[in-house]
């Protein structure tokens, strides 16, 4: 009897683990692809403007995709039922923005090749917070521990090797090594800590699509404040934006791609937790390197040793991802997760069964009822028209920016661009389909 009732549950848990892993890997592809449009932006634009341009694209994307996929009515109902999470989401957005600005300083002071692997250590911070705050890996056997912690370490090691190879072993003379390393490690701490609100939201039964609409408010406000502060006031910022107008389309496009990647990362944080989800989505460095090397020819002329390093670094990173992907949570770990859910539910007056259902990929009853209501002709029409206006507005912004976009004089390998774009789109589409089929974007 017990066996009969537990088998479907464990099969469901395994299926959700696979789904979460697939989401994290798709996130890596999406986040890696987001780096490509920003490479089209030639020099002469301040890093704060690049950040602001991307975040503006992110803002548009974060409001459009949830409206199209679930409808704004669903999102607002979800937020109304868990208002405390809006504070957490804004804080997470602020953390993202400050970390992103720190990376600008890190690149300035020690270069991307040293800075990137350092801030990719955020996955280790994620494992730590997942364990300390959300009981992740509690009750996991030694095998799961070795796979997750070892896998996360392997991914960081792979990142170090890839970063070193990108610089072809020639570390430029860093003007301010201490401040650069401090900025990169600060970014790792902030980006690792940002996942505390993510996980908190999903243990409370919130839908990732609702969370990101508020997250982006914190993100855009913080980036705007930082850009105004560092660019020398509103007037100077406005002038700089006007000068950068021909490049804004590419930054917006990068931001939009980033949103798609990040959405999958949110679902990964929901279905496999942050300890497993973050290291897996950090495989974006592999994709970023593939875009840089194959499409933009960044490794052309590099020494054979650098190419060997790329292969070794990639292999180590893939091995780490495979190790984590194979470490499905045990029933003891699921029991520990239920305790974390109970803590949130008790503290914030939520229904624990709704949160458990949501974590199992099932939309809970009340939202099903809300959706059923919204399916009535009048309500449906009103809601869908509002959503269509948002989608049309986003499209309008892209067309408006696209009309004045200037294609930078940059040589690209079009063949590889098509191959990588097709691979990324295929991955995003197939995992998106899986997510819709198994959970209805719950």
């Amino acid at each position: 009897m017990a066996l009969e009732s537990s088998t479907p549950a464990s099969a469901r848990a395994r299926s959700l683990h696979t789904l979460g892993v697939a989401c994290a890997l798709a996130a890596g592809a999406g986040l890696g692809a987001a780096e490509a449009p920003t490479k089209l932006v030639t020099t002469g634009i301040s890093p704060f403007l690049i950040s602001l341009g991307m975040v503006a694209g992110v803002f548009v994307g974060r409001w459009t995709l949830p409206a199209v996929l679930k409808g704004t009515g669903f999102v607002f109902d979800d937020l109304r039922r868990r208002p405390h999470l809006m504070v957490w989401a804004v804080l997470a957005g602020g953390l993202w923005a400050v970390a992103n600005t720190l990376t600008v300083f890190a690149i300035r002071d020690v270069g991307l090749s040293i800075a990137f692997p350092l801030w990719n250590a955020n996955s280790l911070i994620g494992v730590l917070w997942g364990f300390v705050f959300f009981r992740e890996l509690r009750g996991a056997g030694r095998g799961a521990w070795v796979r997750v912690a070892g896998g996360a370490l392997a991914i960081v090691t792979g990142a170090v090797l890839l970063g070193y190879a990108s610089s072809q072993g020639l570390v430029s003379l860093a003007p301010r090594p201490v401040s650069g390393v401090a900025a990169a490690l600060g970014a790792a701490l902030l980006w690792g800590t940002m996942y505390i609100p993510y996980r908190k939201a999903y243990l409370s039964g919130m839908n990732p699509l609702s969370f990101v609409t508020v997250f982006t408010v914190g993100e855009v406000v913080t980036v705007l404040v930082l850009a105004v502060t560092f660019e020398g006031g509103w007037h100077a910022l406005g002038e700089a934006l006007a000068d950068a107008r021909p490049s804004l389309f590419w930054l917006f496009l990068g931001g939009f791609c980033w949103v798609i990647g990040d959405l999958f990362q949110q679902y990964a944080a929901k279905y496999v937790g942050i300890g497993r989800g973050i290291p897996l989505s950090n495989t974006n460095q592999l994709w970023g390197l593939a875009w840089g090397a194959l499409v933009f020819g960044e490794l052309s002329g590099s020494r054979p040793a650098a190419r060997v390093l790329v292969l070794v670094g990639s292999a180590v990173m893939i091995a780490g991802a495979v190790a984590i992907a194979g470490a499905a949570a045990s029933s003891e770990e699921h029991a520990a997760r239920s305790l974390a859910v109970a803590r949130e539910s008790t503290r914030y007056g939520l229904d624990a069964s709704e949160a458990e259902a949501s974590l199992a990929g099932i939309a809970f009853d009340r939202l099903v009822a809300v959706e059923a209501d919204s399916a009535k002709p009048k309500g449906w029409k009103r809601m869908r028209i509002g959503d269509a206006v948002i989608a049309a507005g986003a499209l309008g912004v892209f067309v408006w920016l696209g009309a004045s976009a200037r294609r930078p004089a940059l040589s690209l390998n079009v063949g590889w661009m098509i191959v990588l774009s097709a691979a990324t789109l295929a991955m995003l589409a197939s995992v998106g389909y899986l997510l819709w089929k198994r959970t209805g974007f719950a």
């Binding site: 970390a99 300083f105 401040s179 401090a182 600060g186 701490l189 505390i196 007056g349």
Partner: protein, 35 residues
């Protein structure tokens, strides 16, 4: 059923909250120091 007239109170008394908030403030201080 679920009265949440003050949902800010549970946040402020939630020990989890002070970690990301503290890290955020630390990040701002780091930004100001490195600019």
């Amino acid at each position: 059923m679920r009265m949440r007239t003050s949902w800010l109170k549970p946040i402020l008394s939630d020990s989890h909250f002070w970690v990301p908030l503290g890290v955020f403030i630390l990040g701002i201080i780091l930004l100001l120091a490195l600019r």
